[in-house]
């Protein structure tokens, strides 16, 4: 009996494998593209959200192999040191600059991306791609502050609040050198867009002053820390602060009066892409107001597409945090690419501060 059962089971397993492999084959698709995006960065069909990737597959009959990365540096390492063939990637501003400089991305054919006309002018011809040859913006956002109003009587409105001795032990800081240094540099009156080693040293000093006051250096942990009332104040990306605020009503998000980092994540096509035509179709599809809004409703970052507001959630659209007024954006800066040596130096100094 046992023997038959095991034979039966192995047959079932074989059948299952066969179906899976059949699914992996072309399966009636006319082509496929490899998309490499940030984790949790596209509406995935959960809850009431659209599944924008699936909608694309249906519309164009192109299969999407979707994989994710966590940092711009990870994306860079994969692109520069392996011969993996991605068709669409999502680098941030300063990484675009580096990828263009190192000839890792190709020029786009904007005639195949009619939706590009709908991009808001502010996000065209950005300094990292001055003539708009390589990029289509996907999303943008600023860094902001979030604090728990039950844990402080003050109304923090500047990065300086992250150095507030009264909040000792319940302050969080970015566990990411570029973002942490940007805050410290702003307070030291250094422009975080681009800087020298000497300027890194000044900011390092500032970060060292902050360390004894900190609870922790965090990235994704910030959600648990803030939402469960474990920390009083943290810097993070405004779109994510918006999410935290919906999960904990005691949290307040503010745009620091000092100004902050405006960052833009873009869609690009790597040099060694296999399906350039499919990649253009994908980029155009995601730039339509409906799809951009669907994705931004899910990730709660800001859409660079005109007309997307018609499809955005009411609360999100009206949030000053996610869509800061133009006057505020004028106070913001974007990151430039930093040469390897200075970048490595900053990273090294950051690890020293932390350890």
């Amino acid at each position: 009996m046992k023997k038959y059962l095991s034979i039966l089971l192995s047959l079932v397993i074989c059948a299952a494998c066969a179906t899976v492999f059949a699914g992996c084959g072309s399966g009636g698709y006319e082509g496929e593209i490899n998309v490499y995006n940030w984790g949790e960065y596209v509406a995935d069909g959960s809850e009431d959200y659209e599944d924008t990737v699936e909608l694309f597959e249906k519309e164009y009959n192109i299969k999407v192999n979707y994989t994710t990365f966590e940092t711009n540096e990870e994306l860079y390492n994969i692109l520069s040191s392996s011969n993996s063939a991605y068709d669409v990637i999502f680098p941030s501003d300063y990484m675009v600059e580096k990828l263009i400089a190192e000839d890792l991305v190709q020029k786009l054919d904007y005639s195949k991306i009619p939706n590009y006309d709908k991009i808001i002018d502010r996000f065209k011809n950005m300094q990292y791609d001055p003539k708009s040859e390589y990029t289509v913006p996907y999303s943008w956002n600023v860094t902001g502050l979030v604090y728990n109003k039950t844990m402080t009587d003050k109304k923090p409105d500047s990065w300086e609040s992250l150095w507030d001795k009264d909040l000792e032990g319940s302050i969080l800081q970015f566990n990411n050198s570029r973002d942490a240094y940007a805050i410290a540099m702003q307070l030291c009156k250094i422009n975080p867009s681009t800087f020298t080693k000497a300027e890194v040293d000044k900011a390092t000093k500032k970060l060292k002053e902050q360390r004894p006051l900190l609870k922790k250096y965090v990235m994704d942990q910030v959600f648990a820390e803030m939402e469960n009332n474990q920390a009083a104040i943290a810097p993070y990306y405004a779109g994510d602060i918006y999410t935290m605020m919906t999960n904990n009503k005691d949290l307040v998000g503010v745009l620091p009066k000092d100004g902050s980092n405006l960052f833009v994540d873009n869609m690009c096509i790597p040099k060694n892409a296999q399906n350039v035509d499919g990649a253009h179709k994908f980029i155009d599809f995601m730039t339509s107001p409906e799809m951009s809004a669907a994705n931004m409703n899910y990730i709660t970052y800001a859409s660079p597409v005109k007309g997307a507001e018609k499809f955005l959630d009411e609360d999100l659209k009206n949030s000053e945090l996610v869509y800061p007024p133009d006057e505020y954006l004028d106070k913001c800066y974007t990151f430039h690419n930093i040469d390897d040596e200075t970048y490595t130096y900053m990273q090294e100094q950051f690890v020293k501060v932390m350890s």
Binding site: E73, R211, Q230, D340, T344, Q347, E348, V351, S355
Partner: protein
């Protein structure tokens, strides 16, 4: 020849996934950015000596606690009926079916302010910060690696011939004497492999300290992780020093084991 052929896949695996990476780490440690032979990476690596020593210390304490906790458990298990033994082994294994990171998340939830344990303690009038210190990190490590101590100990102890224990008792040894003179010496191989299996991964572990510790508890694994963002050379050098330290410790441990065995 016949014996060797089946081992070919294993040898190939070792070559590709163990030897080649080690050679790469060696290469990176002894070169600089331009590919020139250089000891710069090591001089930078020694800038993290305090983190390094702290990690070894945390690993050492965790291993010791694991050993103290696991030894009686393993002995108890090995003295049960076969069916009970299997059941107990499974109980030890079950937590390991769940992802390592999820278990650490669970501890964060348990230990956080106003979490279940904190609430319970405040009822008893004890107000303390449970998370964000070295004790929390050690707790997490012990929790993660305890099964790796219990299982090798149990395996070795269950092979101890019960008649030896009976004989010792017949010849007048009391229970402590039996433990000291019979069970302990025979279980030394289990102790050594248990220590190896706990100490090695816990010294190089990362994320546990980031989740359970505070700003002062960062471990060398976390430093290696961060350094590799921008500098493979220093990262490799630190990893190599860590490997060497563990390797030397294991050699000493094994020498000690052999001597014990010879003395018997």
């Amino acid at each position: 020849m016949r014996l060797k052929r089946p081992s070919i896949p294993y040898i190939a695996w070792m070559l590709v996934f163990t030897l080649v990476p080690i050679v790469l780490i060696l290469y990176y440690s002894f070169t600089d950015r331009s590919g020139q032979l250089s000891l710069e990476a090591f001089s930078k690596a020694f800038g993290y000596t305090d983190v390094f020593l702290r990690s070894l210390w945390i690993a050492f304490i965790s291993t010791l606690i694991c050993l103290v906790l696991a030894y009686p458990v393993a002995y108890f298990m090995s003295r049960q009926k076969k069916s009970v033994q299997n059941f107990l082994t499974m109980l030890i294994m079950i937590p390991m079916w769940m992802n390592f990171l999820l278990r650490i998340y669970a501890w964060v939830t348990l230990l956080q302010n106003n979490g279940p344990i904190d609430t319970m303690l405040s009822f008893l009038g004890i107000h303390t910060q449970l998370l964000g210190n070295q004790n929390a990190v050690i707790l997490g490590m012990v929790y993660e690696y305890l099964p790796f101590m219990v299982l090798p100990l149990y395996t070795v102890m269950s092979k101890i011939d019960f008649r030896l224990i009976e004989a010792a008792s017949d010849l007048g040894a009391n229970r402590i004497g039996v433990m000291r003179k019979v069970v302990f010496p025979l279980s030394i191989p289990g102790i050594i492999s248990g220590i190896t299996m706990v100490l090695v991964p816990s010294a190089s572990t990362f994320l546990v300290a980031q989740y359970l510790g505070g700003t002062n508890d960062i471990m060398i694994g976390d430093v290696i992780d961060k350094i590799f963002w921008s500098d493979n050379h220093t990262g490799s050098a630190i990893a190599l020093v860590l490997m060497a330290a563990i390797f030397i410790f294991l050699i000493i441990l094994n020498l000690f084991g052999d001597e014990e065995a010879i003395a018997e």
